[in-house]
Structures are given as C-alpha cells and as structure tokens.
C-alpha cells in the first residue's frame, strides 16, 4: 500500500485548511425531482424539508417537464442506454447527428459538434484550433471552464477589463501582429447576471480581423426575443464565429454541451478536440430529451416570456424591499451582501424560512463581493416568488440591511 500515513496526513491537513478558511463545500441532498418545489435533506440525516428552489439553472422549468421525460423514455427504449464507444469508433447514432443539426438551426450557425459537457467543449476548443502563433483575448470574468481551456492551448493569452470595449480595442492593437486572434466572452456572466456587449464586440472583431468566441451556457433558450441567446438580443445572429453552450441548464438541465459555429472550426474540433476524441458523447436518453426541448422552444416562446415576467416581478420586489442588487435584466439576480459570513448567515436563515438560495463568496466571486445569487425560472409561479420575497424581507430586516447602501452594509459587517 502506497497510501502511507504521511500521504494521508498531507491531505488531512489540506482539507483542514479548507475547513478553517470557511471554504469547505457541502452538498444538500434533494429527495424530489428538480423543480420550483423541492424536498431537501440538510444537514445530512435531518428530516426532509420542503423548500422553494431559487438557485437552480433550471431557467425554463424544463428539467422535469412531462414531455421531456416522455421523450427521454422513448429514447431509452428505442436507442438504448449507452454507446460504450467514443464518437469516431462506433459511438455515433443518427440522433446525435440530428441533435447537431437542430442545434445549428436553433443557434443560427453553420455547424455543431456535441461534447460530453460544455466544460469539455470549453476545455477542448482552444487547443484544437490555435497554435503558438495565435492570441486569445478574454474578458476577465469569463467562466472557469474557459480559463481551463485557455491554459491547455499553446497560444498566448491576454485579458481585457470586464466589458470594457476601449480596453479590448487596446489589446487587439497590441496583438495585431499575431496570426490568429480570438476574443472570448460569456454571453450572460454567471455571477453578475450582466450581458456582454456583443454588438460592439462584433464591430471590433471585424475591424481587427479577430474571431469571436461566446459561451452561451446562461443564455441559450431564453435570452433574446425567441430565446436563441445573447447574439439574438444584441442583433448579431450569424456573426459569432464560435458559440459554446450547455444542455445542463435551461435546455433540459441533464448534461452535455456543444461547440457551434463556423464549419471549419467545428471540423477542427472533430479532428483534434481531446474531450470529443477520448470520451463518450451524450447518452441517447439525454439526446432524446434535448431534441424534445428544442422542439418545444422552437414552437413557441411561452416559457421564455413567462421567465421574463417572473424576472421583472422578482427584481422589482427585491428592489422595493430595499436590497442592493447587481443591475441587469437576466434571471440571474445577485443580492449583494459584501461580507462572506453575512452571506452564509442569510442563506441559512432563508433555508429556515423554506427558501433554498446559496451564498457565494471569495474565491468564487471577488473579495468583498459576497452575495446570494438568486436565479428565476419559468417553473416558478407568482406565489413561489411572493413567498420567497416575504422570506427575504424577514431575513433582511433581522440583519438590518433593508434600505441600506453598500457602504452602510460594509460599515456594519465589514467586507
């Protein structure tokens, strides 16, 4: 046995350090389907508690939609459970190709390749398409999976200040001599809920001959008038060179992701992207579910319209209650508390009131920017949101933060 006391001690000490720093993550067990109303076991071993979930990425409420479940059942019956192979050996079914076509159509791109997850899509893309003669220029707040992909790529990497177009232009000028340039951004930023200035980015990328890479994980299905994403909202459909997105959030919430965009880039991924080459793709049961999701979303905009209305109601309610929010119009609504302990205390008290919402603090968000990130869903009814608002008001009053400014909250609790 090579797992000696010394080895074990090193890990025990490291884990203790994580605990002591207040950064130890624990899971809460859900004993129901994923939905607005859930039953939660927390702490482990306690009796089940009914709660309203306002922290899922289930933006369209499709995670447990009967039509999606039915389609998944049918997929399971007709195409089986697993593929036991990667795509290019014998792991590609007709429905995988069908899903790639449907996603291409939905996003308004040229071609699509499926990945086991969007994490894999982001981790595999840059290494597959870039060389050491190229440069990647990313917004400073892009998702961690993009950072991992950037680390794996041979090209040099630079950043621009969050959503600062003048700074981006400086960087495009600085790297003008590079063979290929890729500008990288999220569509909707997951922690702040704000939207990339895609229209301006498209103009800059055209001016400086740079490709534009967009992660739409928190946008696909509900941002834009017909839910195609941030590129629809900003009026630049067809002008984004690469879109990555997930089927693990609004689009059914199970798993899987893709790279969708220019034909040559997708083909490069098919030839060279390692998560595609060395891992099974999405299971047939999930593919069948996502196909049904896209069908639902292409037939009408009912769900994204409801989500928009719910979001307006929620933002207005929190503002009127006197909370400090991050500005924006997406279903990601961060309630700013600034202090990490306060965020954890508020989260715990909300749970006592039957509201499931999690506190986020450093290193997930910058130091002094602790918050409760709330996420609204089309699966919420107004009565869910009213109950959640009531709980927020009660807890906010307890901590005396209603109607207080950022500075006043920091003065009371520190940051």
């Amino acid at each position: 046995m090579a797992y000696s006391d010394k080895t074990k001690g090193i890990y025990q000490e490291t884990l203790k350090g994580i605990r002591d720093a207040g950064l130890f993550k624990v899971e809460r067990f859900i004993h129901s389907t994923q939905a607005a109303d859930i039953e939660v076991e927390f702490p482990v071993g306690s009796t089940l508690k009914k709660a309203i979930n306002i922290c899922a990425n289930n933006y369209l409420g499709l995670s447990s939609h009967p039509d999606v479940i039915k389609a998944a059942h049918e997929g399971l019956d007709v195409r089986g459970y697993g593929m036991s192979s990667v795509r290019f050996i014998c792991g590609t079914q007709d429905i995988h190709k069908e899903l790639e076509h449907k996603v291409t159509e939905f996003l308004g791109t040229e071609d699509t390749i499926l990945f086991p997850s969007c994490m894999d899509a982001n981790a595999g893309f840059f290494e597959a398409v870039l060389t050491k003669d190229d440069v990647m220029i990313s917004d400073r707040l892009v998702h961690a999976s993009i950072i991992d992909g950037i680390r794996l790529a041979p090209a040099i990497h630079d950043t621009f200040k969050h959503s600062d177009m003048a700074h981006l232009e400086n960087k495009l000028q600085l790297h003008a001599d590079k063979r290929l340039k890729v500008v990288i951004t999220d569509g909707v930023f997951s922690m702040d809920g704000d939207t990339a200035k895609l229209d301006e980015m498209v103009v800059l990328c055209e001016k400086y001959d740079a490709m534009l890479f967009l992660d739409e994980s928190h946008s696909s299905g509900f941002i834009g008038k017909t839910g195609r994403g941030t590129h629809e909202k900003c009026g630049v459909m067809g002008k984004i060179d690469v879109i990555t997105t997930t089927f693990g959030k609004a689009l059914g919430g199970a798993s899987g992701g893709c790279v969708s965009g220019r034909k040559e880039l997708v083909e490069m991924c098919r030839q060279k992207a390692r998560p595609y080459l060395f891992s099974n793709t999405i299971a047939p049961v999930v593919v069948s579910g996502v196909l049904r999701v896209l069908e639902i979303l292409s037939s009408n905009t009912e769900r994204r319209d409801k989500l928009e209305k719910n979001t307006e109601f929620w933002r207005k309610g929190l503002k009127e209650a006197g909370f400090v929010l991050k500005d924006g119009d997406t279903p990601i609504v961060p309630v700013m508390l600034f202090n990490a302990k306060l965020a954890q205390d508020v989260s715990r008290d909300l749970f006592e009131e039957g509201i499931y919402a999690i506190g986020f603090f450093f290193p997930v968000v910058p130091q002094g920017q602790a918050r409760i990130r709330t996420q609204i869903s089309a699966g919420h009814e107004i009565h869910h949101l009213e109950k959640a608002l009531e709980a927020f008001r009660k807890v906010g009053k307890k901590y005396n933060i209603l109607g207080k400014t950022k500075e006043e909250i920091i003065q009371m609790y520190g940051n």
Binding site: I156, H157, D158, T159, K171, L174, H175
Partner: protein, 81 residues
C-alpha cells in the same frame, strides 16, 4: 530611468488595479497577487512595443516582473544590448 519607472508604474496601475489604488516602485506585483502570470503577457508585449526590444521567454520570469524596479532593470538590459 525615472521616466521609465513612471511609465511602467502607470501601465500597471491602469491595467491591473482598481480605481484609486496605487503601488510603489518596489511593491511585489506577481508574488503580491497584483499581476497574475497570464497577465504578464500583455505587460511583456507592452514593454517590447514601447521600447522596441525583444525579451526572450527565458528572461520573462515571474521574478523579473515582480516589481516596477525589477521590470525597469530588465528593460534596460535589453535596451543596452
């Protein structure tokens, strides 16, 4: 020399710091967490363009970029060559 120090200092402040924050010439940049190793790329390219020099990757170490003073020393080595 002093002019170069001010130029480098201003670039680091504008590029990496929050409004109102400042640094001294000997403030640790990389080991102090102000500049991450990713961001060294733009700093290196800025210096190369500004002073018309080429800094080999082997010389562009985190240690050599760890303060305004050290950066100015590094640049001067290559200007003089």
């Amino acid at each position: 020399m002093d002019e170069m120090k001010e130029i480098v200092k201003k670039y680091v402040i504008d590029e990496y710091m929050e409004e109102g924050d400042t640094i001294a010439y000997d403030t640790p940049l990389i080991s102090g967490g102000i500049v991450d190793s990713f961001s060294m790329v733009s700093l290196k390219r800025f210096l190369e363009n500004k002073y018309n020099i080429s800094i080999p990757d082997d010389d562009a170490t985190p240690e050599a970029f760890d303060s305004v003073n050290k950066i100015v020393d590094l640049v001067n080595r290559f200007i003089k060559k």
